[in-house]
């Protein structure tokens, strides 16, 4: 069974107050997310990512098309029982404490008092919020609110969790912890659907991605299928590169950029690098690092979005 499936899901918003002109926020969207996979929805601001999430969560209603979650239509109460959601820049009831918020949401999921207590304790610990559990939310920093947001999204042990910009507002430690948590969810079989601007996170965590731009789906598939995995260059950092040595390898490299005592040499491929390597060593240069350069999701994303944007 697919965790999520959309067919022609479309959303128009009225723009004029009197003339009721409609603006298409999401063009007919066909998406499929398999159960247990981590799926990333990426796109620039205004691409339609949040609109897609709001449609799937019943916060806004589609103009056309349909969607099914866990095989059931949107709005089915059983669907809500099995999903979790972290909104972008979440804002919760600031008069509650973190523990009270988790308890309240646990009540809405029909958890018993004992289950709520256990689950709250587990999640507060998991998100590093135990010390702030009994502090009112109005005193939380942005990062703390984000951590609590992730905790509340998991209170019901969802089979499918929607995370909108889960790393937003987190420091490097927090980002690493949340990345770890998303991997744990993935390993446990939970389907994770997340939107992010931080493409390196998406690249590290997702099995498949979809790129949205201006409300249209540009591309969807496995990372290995959509990114060109062939080698683009070999970046080598050396120390002690003399002008004479540079002349001797001139036929092999593509570009040299000096950085203080070091030089960054870009070779077009491995054979060119292998040809230049003995010359460099014999000439007295010290090898600092060798990095194969491949296309990243970020490179691919910008190429696709720019191509779409210029249409």
């Amino acid at each position: 069974m697919r965790a999520l499936e959309t067919r022609g899901l479309t959303k128009d918003y009225p723009t004029g107050s009197l003339l009721q002109k409609m603006k298409r926020a999401l063009h007919p969207l066909d998406l499929e997310v398999e159960e247990g996979e981590t799926f990333g929805l990426i796109g620039p601001n205004g691409a339609g990512k949040t609109t897609t999430l709001k449609l799937l969560l019943g916060l806004v209603f589609p103009t056309g098309g349909e969607a099914r979650i866990m095989g059931r239509p949107l709005g089915d109460p059983e669907v809500k029982q099995q999903i979790g959601y972290l909104p972008e820049q979440p804002y919760f009831y600031d008069y509650l404490t973190g523990r009270e918020l988790l308890n309240y949401f646990g009540q809405l999921f029909g958890l018993s008092r004992q289950e709520r207590d256990v689950r709250s304790r587990e999640l507060l610990e998991k998100t590093g919020m135990t010390d702030a559990a009994d502090v009112p939310l109005r005193k939380y920093s942005k990062g703390m609110t984000q951590r609590l947001g992730i905790a509340q999204a998991l209170v019901n042990r969802p089979r499918l969790v929607f995370l909108d910009e889960p790393m937003s507002g987190l420091d490097p430690v927090g980002r690493r912890e949340i990345s770890h948590l998303i991997r744990e969810l993935h390993d446990s079989g939970t389907t994770v659907f997340f939107c992010s601007h931080i493409l390196s996170d998406v690249e590290q965590l997702c099995d498949r991605v979809a790129i949205l731009n201006r409300g249209k789906l540009i591309e969807a598939g496995r990372l290995t299928d959509i990114i060109d995995v062939s080698l683009h260059a070999v970046e080598v950092v050396v120390e002690g590169l003399s002008p004479e040595l540079e002349k001797r390898i001139a036929a092999s490299f593509r570009e040299i950029r000096p950085h203080g005592p070091r030089s960054h040499i870009s070779f077009p491929d491995i054979p060119s690098f292998e040809k230049a390597l003995p010359v460099l060593i014999e000439g007295g240069a010290h090898l600092v690092s060798v990095n194969p350069v491949k296309e990243t999701l970020e490179d691919h994303f910008f190429r696709e979005v720019n191509a779409g944007g210029r249409e």
Binding site: Q81, Y85, P87, F109, G149, R157, S188
Partner: protein, 276 residues
């Protein structure tokens, strides 16, 4: 098993769906009550109302032979006015504030319908008002006790009708709150309250105005707007006139029907609304 990784389905029990639905309304109501009682504005209003009830003692002292009447008059007026302020100012924010602050985004994807959410908000505020009215009532009776006035159960009839009026006003405020901003909802609810208080005068307007359009408009308003005067027996109670139980029953039924219709309308509007 790992805490987060545990994907066992949550046991939701085998109770009937209706009971589960009522429980969810109760949870939202309890949270709404918690929201209002943790709001400092509410305490300021209640404190101010109690001060006003207390100040009636001073005014009563300068009203020769009228002390008790003045205290009862001002006490009931304080309960009514401050209850109205709480009903409108908190009622208008119940839904629109949740939309403005986007707290709804994390609540509505949970297994709760928009109708359950709205009803929970309504009953939560009604419960807050009940507690406030009770506090003010106790304040009034304490003052009368200090004045060595015997317990007057008739006051409770007036206070009960004031409370009914407030529950109706909350329903009006929630209706506007579902489709407009807090400020406009406050203005509209205030207009309905004032117009509803004078709705019987609206009906009589046709006898003093020659225009054909205005009387038609006022007649429509008379039938559409709730008549808040139906809940005002303060003068009768203070004067010692009897307030029959039939009047209380009729007013209760009137409020129940109006509140029911307003909540149905609010739920319908809210269920269709896109949360941008």
């Amino acid at each position: 098993m790992n805490a987060v990784a545990d994907t066992r389905p949550i046991e939701t029990g085998s109770r009937v769906e209706g009971a589960r639905s009522l429980r969810k309304i109760g949870y939202v109501a309890l949270n709404t009550y918690r929201e209002t009682v943790r709001d400092k504005v509410l305490y300021n209003l209640v404190l101010f109302a109690l001060l006003m009830i207390g100040s009636s003692y001073v005014l009563g002292a300068v009203s020769v032979y009228q002390e008790i009447k003045v205290i009862k008059d001002l006490g009931l007026a304080a309960i009514s006015v401050f209850g109205m302020v709480i009903a409108i100012f908190i009622g208008i924010g119940l839904v629109s504030k949740e939309m403005d602050k986007r707290t709804l985004y994390s609540v509505l994807p949970k297994p709760i319908s928009r109708t359950q959410f709205l009803l929970g908000k309504y009953f939560g505020l009604c419960f807050t008002l009940l507690v406030n009215v009770l506090v003010m009532t106790v304040g009034l009776y304490v003052l009368l006790f200090l004045m060595k006035h015997p317990f007057d159960p008739a006051l409770l009839k007036a206070i009960f009708l004031i409370y009914l009026k407030l529950t109706l006003l909350v329903a009006v405020a929630i209706l506007f709150s579902t489709f407009t901003s807090s400020i406009l909802a406050g203005l509209f609810a205030g207009f309905v309250y004032v117009a509803g208080y004078f709705s019987s005068d609206l009906k009589n307007l046709e006898s003093v105005v020659e225009s054909t359009f205005l009387p038609q408009l006022t007649r429509v308003l008379y039938y559409v707007l709730p008549n808040f005067k139906n809940f005002d027996v303060k003068a009768a109670v203070v004067a010692g006139d009897p307030v029959p139980w039939t009047q209380l029953s009729w007013a209760t039924a009137y409020a129940a029907i109006y509140v029911g219709l307003l909540l149905v309308g609010s739920c319908w509007i809210f269920s269709k609304r896109n949360l941008k």
